[in-house]
Amino acid sequence: MAGTPLLEVRDLKKYFPLKRELLRERMEVRAVDGISFTLGHGETIGIVGESGCGKSTAAKTIMRLIEPTAGQVLLDGVDVTALSRAQFRPYRKRVQIVFQDPYASLNPRMSAGAIIGEPLRNFGVGAAERTARVEKLFDRVGLHRDSMRKYAHEFSGGQRQRLGIARALALEPGLIVCDEPVSALDVSIQAQIINLLIDLQKELGISYVLVAHDLAVVQHISDRVAVMYLGRLVETGDGDRLFGQPLHPYTRALLSAVPKTTSTGERRRIVLKGDVPSPVSPPSGCHFHPRCPDATERCRQQAPELRDVGENYWVACWLHAT
């Protein structure tokens, strides 16, 4: 990877304050508790984890839809977290987002053409040019140009997701955050949208930050993968290496938990005890230790840091700390 990476996230944190009870200290939910990674041009990083791990919050904080509590986000080398909201506005052209819910992410009272045209309007593109560009966007995502006048409810779930992608492409961003882009869709439609995202990446060189809970989808699209647990990264690195030889016990449990169509009879499977903990009162030390089959005393007391175990592959686990 020559030159500055497209995206660099350094120790990003987002804490949400909880209502202060009388006479108790202020509590907060540490939704994102210090994550760091880099992403190059035309690359995809998949962030995986279960509910409450903070991956959606992380994705939105990276693009300042949620304001970070601490840490830095660098876009092409520029620290955008240090900018005021007004100064950041032009950078919106570089990072866009596709939402999970195809029904709630489109304004029910706007026509499809107006929805896709809105980003262009915001940045001063005149009406005639807008129409031309919107038409091209419709073509690109596989929708009929004539459907520009239709309203959101007249489209199917998959088509609505295409509209969301078209809207994200309008400003020609270098990075698109995809927050569970296919989880609300049927399997046969998922494939269409996944292929569309892959084709767009090949054609336009866009990078993706893909947040998803479906590991197979993540494996299919991502170059790099980051596994989150309770606001922290536990393992991150090259996708093929992570799926083939996972190091962190949580990653291994996660991968073995996914039901597979190629299973042959009784499978040896790591089944974790207990529930996914809530981010309001995380366990001490390594957040994963209560459920970890290999936990030691040290794990209970001290949180391991993310360490480079070679070739830009990082793990946060005492078992892999030399």
Binding site: E50, D186, V187, A216, Q219, G239
Partner: protein
């Protein structure tokens, strides 16, 4: 095939001892926009002791089929336009409400997708589990509570005595699902219908629930209908699978055979469209094939349908497919397909 035996230790393949027989079931919904043919002539059997998977995407009619078994769909707007559902020989569709009540929770139980909304928030978990026992087994309060505690223990909820007196909001998602399973199995029903039981759960919790269901099935010998759109879940739990599309059955086969040699173009398309998690070391992303797309969308279920419901999206469709609906044929070994053109993959 040892794999199938491991999934279903009680029933072997080919044993013909059906406990539920659904025959040409038609469930239609009538509203001012027209008639919606949600289930349009579906037939399959559930063998005693087996786990049958009912698979399909949204709108295929799998949930409606299951809910009709227990007469849980209000009758306007739904209309049973034909067919029968036989349980131990008797047609459930002809049962009146009183008789149906003796079946629900007692002989045939159901668990649902969203544990948040299927447990009553103002009753303790113990009360809800005990409710079926009180109703069907006529147990006194103390005995019912003991049963509830025992069921909670069986579903691996720690400290069941304490937990029985707690309310659903004090349970996590996975625990609520276990509680629902406990309630469903409290009276040892012969049949359990599981409607997307793991879809709303995190994957590690899903694994726990699947393990639990397999263990309980071994212990109680319940026959299970597993409704889901997740093919992986089906592969790990079911011995036989029925694939539904647009209100009709398109394929039925033993699970292993369905996944290794599917015959219907829809099943083939579905399998090729689903990304599979490869965890063999050394798998390379670059070598992975592109996901096959099934073009178009699920058809609306309104009005009269001419020809095969999958024809508009099928790459193998020919003229006859658009003219008449194919019949279900047995291709040997219990592998049933309805397609004119599925000689080979």
């Amino acid at each position: 095939m040892t794999s199938t035996a491991a999934r279903d230790p009680i029933a072997g393949i080919g044993s013909r001892d059906p406990i539920v027989q659904i025959d040409d079931l038609k469930v239609w919904f009538a509203n001012r926009d027209g008639i919606i043919r949600a289930v349009d002539g579906v037939s399959f059997d559930l063998q005693r002791g087996e786990t049958l998977g009912l698979v399909g995407e949204s709108g295929c009619g799998k949930s409606v089929t299951a809910m009709t078994m227990l007469q849980l769909i209000p009758s306007p707007p739904s209309v049973i336009a034909g067919g029968s559902i036989r349980y131990n020989g008797a047609d459930l569709l002809k049962f009146d409400e009183e008789r149906m009540r003796t079946i629900r929770g007692n002989e045939i139980s159901m668990i649902f997708q969203d544990p948040m909304t299927s447990l009553n928030p103002v009753l303790t978990v113990g009360e809800q589990i005990a409710e079926t026992a009180v109703l069907h087994r006529k147990l006194g309060r103390r005995a019912a509570r003991e049963l509830a505690v025992e069921m909670l223990h069986k579903v691996n909820i720690p400290e069941p005595q304490r937990r029985a007196d707690e309310y659903p909001h004090q349970f996590s998602g996975g625990m609520r699902q276990r509680a629902m399973i406990a309630a469903a199995l409290a009276c040892n029903p012969k049949v359990l219908i599981a409607d997307e039981p793991t879809t709303a759960l995190d994957v590690t919790i899903q694994a726990q629930i699947i393990e639990l269901m397999l263990d309980l099935k071994r212990e109680f010998g319940t026959s299970i209908i597993m409704i889901t759109h997740d093919l992986g879940v089906v592969a790990e739990t079911c011995a036989r699978v029925v694939v539904m599309y647009a209100g009709r059955k398109v394929e039925e086969a033993a699970a292993g055979e369905l996944f290794s040699a599917p015959l219907h173009p829809y099943t083939q398309g579905l399998l090729l469209a689903t990304p599979r998690l490869e965890t063999a070391p050394g798998t390379r992303r670059a070598d992975r094939p592109r996901l096959a797309e099934i073009p178009g969308m699920v058809p609306t279920l309104k009005g009269e349908l001419k020809g095969c419901s999958f024809a508009p999206r099928c790459h193998k469709a020919t003229a006859i497919c658009r003219e008449s609906a194919p019949k279900l044929e047995d291709r040997g070994n219990g592998h049933i397909v309805s397609c004119f053109n599925c000689g080979s993959a």
